[in-house]
């Protein structure tokens, strides 16, 4: 344009040299620090969970009271050794191996509960936002009902009634934490639904299903991903809380929350028993939230161009 061609006003066809949306998305994603760091940390925790049986130095369930309460390697203690880099717990189980295996439980619960609650919340929210009127009233009533139930109390009640196993915890969490999905999906669907391209699709003759799946969903999916990451972190913390209260995952499973719970009696003299799984939880939640924030920044339409 600059080389002497006449200036054409704004209807001039721009050349196709501009990057396509997917190229821009990649560029923005890889220049976003939070997205990159969160992604790398989460990926490594995921890899750790997948490869747990291969990389864990010991059996996480192997109790040997002869080697109990060995402090981690950075302690000035004669007992600390490289055989147990993070020490052992009060039953003499290798803490590093338990930590590595525990990541499986945290990720499984986080992912499965997020999936269940995501499906419930998205269906309710999109239906309420798209159809409005009576559907919206009913969904709003369900959301309000759900919001008036205290999650931890209900989870405690259910777990004490039907017993507790990993999958019961997952289902209880999944059926309880869909409210944010529903609220966010409802309001974003309402916004998108009133845009002209939805009216244009209706005028073209698109069916309701087609409008929801090919016009509305692609434009709300970034919000969905952000909520999903937040809810995944939420589910992992709730599982840790339930396990800490003794109503989540049952011993001797190496859940991080359970590890904190089991170490709590020793918090004064051996704080690392609580500190190590606590830091692991912190890092996992932080990485998920960083990734979620990153996805929001990277995909938000106002960040375009």
């Amino acid at each position: 344009m600059a080389d002497g061609t006449p200036i054409v006003l704004s209807d001039s066809p721009r050349d196709g040299v501009e990057p396509s949306p997917s190229q821009r998305l990649k560029k923005r994603a890889f220049s976003h620090m939070g997205f990159v760091i969160g992604g790398i940390v989460l990926l490594s925790i995921f890899a750790m969970a997948m490869l747990a049986p291969l990389i864990a130095p010991h059996d996480p369930y192997d109790q040997q009271l002869a080697r109990k309460m060995i402090p981690p390697i950075w302690h000035d203690s004669a007992k600390a050794s490289w055989e147990f880099p993070l020490g052992t717990d009060q039953f003499g189980r290798d803490y590093l191996s338990r930590l590595i295996h525990g990541s499986q439980i945290s990720l499984l619960i986080g992912f499965a509960a997020m999936l269940i609650s995501g499906v419930i919340g998205t269906v309710l929210g999109v239906a309420a936002g798209y159809f409005g009127g009576k559907v919206d009233m009913v969904v709003n009533f369900i959301i309000t009902t759900r919001l008036s139930l205290p999650v931890v109390l209900v989870a405690l009640a259910v777990v004490s009634l039907v017993g507790n196993s990993l999958w019961i915890v997952i289902w209880v969490l999944g059926l309880l934490i869909w409210d944010r999905f529903a609220v966010v999906m409802r309001s974003t669907t309402q916004q998108v639904r009133n845009l002209d391209y939805v009216a244009a699709a209706q005028a073209i003759g698109c069916s309701t299903w087609r409008i929801i799946f090919s016009e509305i969903m692609p434009n709300i999916v970034n919000n969905l991903i952000v909520v999903a990451t937040v809810e995944m972190a939420h589910a992992i913390i709730l599982e840790a809380a339930l396990s800490f209260l003794g109503l989540g995952v049952q011993p001797p499973a190496p859940s991080w929350g359970l590890m904190i719970s089991e170490g709590k009696n020793h918090i004064l003299f051996d704080p690392w028993l609580v500190g190590i799984p606590g830091v692991a939880l912190f890092v996992l939640i932080l990485s998920i939230n960083l990734l979620g924030d990153g996805i929001r920044d990277v995909t938000a339409p106002e960040n375009r161009n």
């Binding site: 704004s10 209807d11 949306p21 002209d196 009216a199 244009a200 692609p218």
Partner: protein
């Protein structure tokens, strides 16, 4: 030989507006008894202030909103009996804002071919070719086929919207303020494009606009709407030369001129636009009318036939005189 493409008979559309918690709902008559006939090849402009029911009427013509009462016929068939896919082949919209009328997640090609896919067009291998043909027709280079709306300018986006509307060759195109969101320099290009396409494809337009210059340029007939009713309907030249309804006069006076020394025109529309939930009695325009008479606040005027159309005002009818109404 002329053929009536759109016929609206006594069309009303009422929305129930909640007046506040526990206070029930009140009816808002967005469109209140409209009769309209548009012949093939005509360009009918709907003008009027915001909130007078233009867009509601357009949505009903598109079949997106069912009328509360009255009937709308397109090419002789009542709208509520036409299947949505048939309806889509008859009438298509072009919206005001090309930034919100194109799905930002879809490529231009996918937006333009969507009508073909929705109609289950039998020849998928011709879709790309047909899309490129229509793109050429509306003045879009075919290399934009795989681009996304955010890579296009406002004028180009509006061309995409027009291409999407025209790819199935509809009979009627409803343009809701087709130029008001565009740069001034692009507006005339889009208007000329719409004019050319009308001749080429034998289209019928209903154009909604605030911009009277646009209306004068493109329309063959004009319907002036006020509070859900058409108060004057006539040929464009007649309307601009000799407006009959006081509201039309005021609208024409309200056009700003580029010469600042002329100041801001006095429209004599003193009072604000009335609350449509609680419209004035009699002629709904009487509180703002410069030529208000005694019976205006009591008796609603009925359409009076005029040489080139009709007007709804007591100045021109003699049927609503008080003595006649009493007898």
């Amino acid at each position: 030989m002329t053929e009536t493409v759109i016929r609206a008979t006594d069309v009303t559309r009422t929305f129930m507006i909640s007046a506040g918690a526990f206070r029930g709902k009140k009816p808002l008559r967005a469109v209140n008894g409209i009769n309209l006939e548009v012949e093939r090849g005509e360009v009918l402009a709907l003008v009027g202030e915001s909130g007078c029911g233009k867009t509601t009427l357009a949505k009903m013509l598109l079949g997106l909103l069912p009328p509360t009462s009255g009937t709308i016929e397109l090419t002789g068939q009542p709208v509520n009996s036409i299947h949505r896919l048939e309806m889509a082949k008859l009438v298509q919209p072009v919206f005001q804002d090309p930034y919100s009328s194109l799905n930002p997640r879809k490529s231009i090609g996918s937006i333009i071919t969507l009508p073909l896919r929705v109609q289950n067009d039998p020849n998928p291998e011709t879709w790309r070719k047909r899309a490129e043909e229509i793109m050429e027709l509306v003045g879009l280079p075919s290399r934009l086929f795989n681009n996304y709306p955010n890579q296009l300018s406002g004028g180009q986006r509006q061309r995409v919207a027009i291409a999407r509307a025209l790819i199935n060759r509809p009979e009627v195109v409803i343009c809701d303020e087709p130029t008001s969101a565009l740069d001034v320099s692009v507006q005339s290009q889009i208007l000329n494009l719409l004019q050319d396409l009308r001749k080429e494809l034998n289209l019928t337009y209903v154009v909604i606009s605030h911009n009277l210059a646009v209306v004068e340029h493109i329309a063959t007939r004009v319907a002036v709407m006020y509070l859900g009713r058409i108060v004057e309907q006539t040929e464009t030249a007649t309307l601009f030369d000799a407006p009959e309804h006081p509201y039309t006069e005021a609208l024409l006076k309200s056009v700003l001129t580029p010469d600042p020394s002329l100041g801001i025109p006095d429209t004599q529309l003193g009072a604000a636009y009335p609350n449509p939930v609680n419209p004035p009695s009699g002629c709904t325009f009487h509180p703002r009318c410069a030529k208000v008479m005694g019976q205006c606040s009591e008796i609603a005027p009925t359409p009076t036939k005029r040489p080139h159309g009709h007007v709804e005002c007591h100045l021109y009818d003699d049927t609503a005189k008080p003595e006649r109404a009493a007898s």
